[in-house]
């Protein structure tokens, strides 16, 4: 996604803001903070979107902390029970948790990046099995997804999906539906 210049998902994921601490004073750039200051003072904390933050950090004008969607609380929740974490709430509407995480990962030092990569990979692997199960179950019920029948836990899992996970869900559901339709048609048309 990082090298995918044309990918809409990458662009949306980059729009997330991160908290940065500026190391130098920057004249005339106060509007970035949304306030009325004319300049950015040293050591002031401002939230700027990723696509801007990338260059600023690379050129060493600011430092940043790992934003909340990847902070310790989320990490621990994922370690405890990956399937119950609602990823879509953590990153605004649309939810591109994995894409955002990947971008941050690219900017961090090697150890931290390795940790993040492992956290995301483990979380994904745990969630994907539940995802596919639900998708195949829903192929039988119908495209609308009534939700009420399978219980609240399943429904809240589906609502908490990141948007890349949603794509996988719809792929699995479509293929299961096709298979079912093919199997069912066998008993009618031929005879």
């Amino acid at each position: 996604m990082e090298n995918d210049y044309f990918s809409i998902e990458a662009i949306l994921a980059e729009n997330q803001k991160v908290q940065c601490t500026f190391k130098h004073e920057i004249p005339n750039m106060g509007h970035l903070g949304g306030g009325t200051d004319r300049d950015i003072a040293v050591l002031s904390k401002i939230q700027i979107p990723m696509w801007l933050a990338y260059i600023i950090i690379y050129s060493d004008w600011a430092d940043f902390n790992i934003p909340t969607p990847f902070g310790l609380k989320v990490r621990n929740a994922l370690k405890a029970e990956a399937t119950s974490v609602r990823l879509s709430n953590l990153v605004g509407s649309g939810g591109l948790w994995y894409g955002f995480g990947k971008m941050i990962m690219d900017m961090l030092s090697e150890d931290q990046a390795g940790e993040m990569s492992e956290m995301m990979t483990k979380a994904f692997k745990a969630r994907v099995v539940e995802l596919v199960d639900q998708a195949q179950h829903f192929a039988a019920i119908g495209a609308g997804g009534s939700g009420g029948s399978s219980g609240d836990v399943a429904q809240s899992f589906r609502e908490g999906l990141d948007s890349t996970e949603r794509e996988i869900f719809s792929l699995a559901q479509a293929s299961a539906k096709r298979m079912k339709a093919w199997y069912d048609e066998s008993d009618k048309a031929r005879q």
Binding site: G101, S117, T121, V132, A135, I168, L171, W182, S186
Partner: protein
Amino acid sequence: MALPVPLRDSVTPHELEMIASQQLIEIVPLIAMERTAFISGAYGPLRPPSKAKIPLWMAVNLKLKKKCHIIPPQWLSVEHLQDRLAQEVANPDAFSDLPFRFTEISKVLLDVASDDLENPDQIRTLLKDLREARQAKSREGLRHLDHSELGLTGLTSMEINEIRPFFVQSMSLLTKLARNTEATT
């Protein structure tokens, strides 16, 4: 015209059925036919009551017009399938050895020629059990998904087609997530 997203990586079950229907199957014809040339090759002559080998699509056609009896392939019998099911259950890590297109062929034959098969209901049940057992195994394989490879030997054509779209998507997501650790080492 663009394909809908789920179809970009896989084919429909109907297409697989058509491909599978090109396999040859034995029949006992009830009519006589000279050696006829078709696009895929020349078949016949059909001289009842001796057996002949023709493609499945042709056999289905003749059967629907009640002009032949189909002889089921060797693996489509109760004992054979029970054997395979036992193998499947005994080996939780491996898939048993079934013909590559057994799902499609068995469905077509059960539809059209159930009177030519012995015990069609039991065969249906056995096939269903086999399918479920194998599906459970591929779910297990999903748990061990890696970004670089995953070995699931012995899957048949319909099963591969079923799981391909989301397996490939998941693996590509994992590749994106894992790339950093490899790039910096």
